[in-house]
């Protein structure tokens, strides 16, 4: 499918703030950030520790609510959603990957990846095949019954990616996905994320503090400092803004 114009806006924040009190002090974790991210973009959020990258990501993920301003995803203002609707949004629209993988240690890989489908009430008979398929995609087909502790960091992060994508979200949010990995394994994970962005047209927003990774894979870099957006630069690397098959999503490729 060939897109004629630029892709529609997938994520928009309008002067979004997230302030909270810590004792006497008011912490402005996110302080008036306005950005537009188009569908299919691969955007890297960069900044020092405490610059507000993760807080912004949590707002977009619907895990947190802004103090003021708006977060609009696919035309829906997240502030207007109820707790239940927000849970549905997280379930169907967003896939999340974390620095510490966040797999549930008592569950096997198969069960971990299956978990979001339980919340989505996917029919039991269909799940196993979908889980196998997605674990195969990240190269873990032989590790279905292993528990997370029995796997390397890279393998855990792959499983976590498979889990994030199992409900076919349009938006992948990654919070320092390579932060706990050595550079070789980190590169493998980045290649996977990049391939999802390219082949599935998935919008990716990734928090990182590794400028080199961002330059290599992201199409655009947002620099944050003290809760504010200080720099918004495109990389010379071109993401699939105008060429990718946006509608082809996870599991729909033949």
């Amino acid at each position: 499918m060939e897109n004629s114009g630029p892709n529609p806006v997938a994520v928009r924040t309008e002067n979004v703030c997230r302030h909270y009190r810590m004792g006497e002090a008011l912490v402005r974790a996110v302080d008036g950030i306005s950005i537009d991210i188009r569908a299919g973009e691969f955007v890297a959020l960069l900044g020092a520790s405490g610059s507000g990258k993760s807080s912004l990501l949590n707002l977009i993920a619907g895990l947190d609510r802004p103090t003021s301003g708006a977060v609009i995803v696919h035309g829906t203002d997240l502030a207007a959603l109820s707790r239940d609707q927000l849970a549905k949004y997280r379930l169907h629209t967003v896939g999340m990957v974390f620095q510490s993988f966040n797999l549930i240690p008592s569950m096997s890989l198969l069960e971990n990846v299956e978990l979001p489908m339980r919340f989505a009430e996917v029919d039991r008979r269909d799940r196993s095949a979908l889980v196998r398929q997605s674990l195969e995609r990240v190269g873990l087909s032989g590790r279905l019954s292993h528990r997370p502790m029995e796997l390397s960091g890279g393998e855990q992060q792959r499983a976590s990616l498979a889990r994030a994508l199992i409900n076919r979200p349009q938006l992948l949010l990654a919070d320092e996905p390579t932060g706990n990995l050595d550079s070789r394994t980190g590169t493998e994970i980045m290649e996977l994320i990049h391939s999802f962005n390219q082949s599935l047209g998935m919008t990716v927003l990734m928090v990182t503090h590794e400028q080199a990774l961002a330059e290599k894979y992201a199409g655009r870099m947002l620099h944050l400092a003290d809760g504010k957006l200080v720099n918004d630069v495109p990389t010379d690397h071109v993401s699939n803004i105008s060429s990718g098959p946006v509608r082809a999503r996870w599991g729909e490729t033949q």
Partner: protein, 454 residues
């Protein structure tokens, strides 16, 4: 989340910390067990008491008598026709009473004072006919020595213990009850007893009476075999006129004994009875049956009201037992709250992950709820079995004690199906209520905070 998934996740979570959850579940079991044991004893005692009372014939028996015999008792005005026109209490009347709904059987009250000879020594004693159905309905025969009558018309006799002592010339010391009934039985069972009585026979001469029937009295005697010896008093409701020698009713009827209060004016082929005992299926039906008999023109009396206060007593007793039994369950429910709150702390991060993956508040709440419910179900089931065993043990112990005291064994413990199901349901409800607070606390967890938790 679908029910299957909630249940599946709940079970796997319970298995993850199996030791702690088992301890909590054991706590619930002990609570349920104490409740079940208490209530099963309460119910058992109540059943025992009402069974005893029912079998005593005090509360399920209506005694019907003819009004003709009360011809001179003017003050005893009852509804129905005046005594003179009132019907005779004969066989057709007996059949008619038997047709009244709720009536199980109607049998004549045959009792007479006569001479009994044993070892050629005469004894004057009241003899009564016992219907064959008393084998199962009168618990005085439950723990007896020997056996019940082999049929309703066999020439056999059952003796009450005190008369057995009299026959053997044993005089028990006042205030002691040490005579060994087994020893009495050994020397009496299978031996013969001579019953001497006055038979009333129809007389061929019709001139003697203006009643239309004449009869003569002939002296007779029969040999009866002693088959049973009962410690209890089968005839307890009769007070001072109670019998101590018992014959099968049909056999006693065939003797045509001249009864002292008999004023029979009917033809001898249709005998009329002094009184009939009407056994009713359920004590509740006694007043209706009583009314129906009175409407037929007979007198009727019963002692039904006494059961009401007994039921009241047991309702209060059961209430107290239930409260004490529930105390342990209340303590156990605090255990559930504690366990689940601990589980929330422990699984804080897991809850955060699930929420980040899209679990709703209801999903998280349902999961904790299901865990509480599962503990309640398992605890309830184990507890009922445990309570059943405890009740059984108490019953066993009590019966050993009763046996030592020469009492017949008694079932003082009963676990009806409703108690089993009710206790399990109660356990689940209590567990769910205990899970209410932890579950909503887990559901309200802030995912950002929970994910930060290490």
């Amino acid at each position: 989340m679908k029910f299957y998934d909630v249940a599946d996740l709940a079970v796997r979570n319970l298995r993850e910390s199996v030791f702690r959850n088992s301890l909590t579940t054991i706590g619930i079991s002990v609570g349920v067990a104490s409740l079940v044991a208490m209530l099963s004893l309460g119910i058992g005692l109540q059943q025992l008491a009402s069974r005893r009372l029912q079998k005593s014939g005090l509360f399920d028996t209506v005694v019907a008598s003819s009004r003709r015999d009360l011809r001179n008792f003017r003050e005893q005005r009852e509804e129905g026709p005046p005594p003179a026109e009132s019907p005779s209490l004969n066989e057709p009347a007996r059949k008619k009473i038997e047709q009244i709904p709720g009536v199980v059987e109607v049998y004549p009250d045959i009792r007479f004072v006569t001479e009994v000879r044993f070892d050629d020594k005469p004894h004057l004693i009241t003899v009564a006919g016992i219907p064959f159905s008393a084998k199962n309905n009168n618990d005085a025969f439950d723990g007896m020595q020997g056996s019940f009558f082999s049929s309703g018309a066999s020439p056999e006799v059952i003796l009450q213990k005190s008369f057995a002592e009299e026959l053997l010339g044993i005089i028990p010391k006042p205030g002691t009850d040490n005579t060994n009934i087994a020893a009495l039985a050994k020397s009496l069972l299978g031996r013969e007893l001579t019953l001497r009585y006055a038979e009333r026979t129809a007389s061929p001469s019709s001139a003697a009476s203006n009643d239309g029937t004449a009869y003569s009295v002939v002296s007779r005697q029969r040999e009866l075999k002693i088959v049973g010896l009962t410690d209890l008093d089968p005839d307890s409701m009769r007070g001072t006129t109670k019998a101590r020698v018992f014959l099968p009713l049909n056999y006693a009827q065939d003797l045509h004994v001249m009864q002292s209060n008999q004023r029979d004016t009917s033809p001898s082929d249709s005998p009329s009875y002094t009184s009939l005992s009407v056994r009713v299926e359920n004590p509740n039906q006694v007043p209706e049956v009583e009314d129906a008999i009175k409407k037929m023109g007979f007198n009727a009396f019963s002692l039904v009201d006494a059961t009401r206060s007994m039921r009241q007593f047991f309702a209060v007793l059961d209430g107290f037992l239930a409260i004490f039994g529930s105390l342990a369950l209340a303590v156990a429910s605090i255990g559930i709250v504690n366990t689940l709150v601990m589980a929330i702390l422990e699984r804080r991060r897991e809850i955060g992950i699930m929420k980040a993956l899209g679990a709703s508040d209801a999903d998280v709440r349902g999961l904790f709820f299901a865990e509480a419910g599962a503990m309640g179900l398992v605890g309830g089931t184990v507890g009922v079995s445990l309570g059943w065993a405890i009740g059984r043990l108490i019953n066993f112990g009590t019966n050993i004690y009763l046996e030592r005291q020469h009492f017949p064994p008694a079932q003082i413990w009963s676990v009806p199906l409703w108690l089993v199901l009710g206790a399990i349901a109660f356990s689940i409800v209590v567990s769910l209520l205990s899970g209410l607070y932890p579950a909503s606390r887990a559901a309200r967890l802030d995912p950002v905070q929970a994910l930060r938790y290490e």
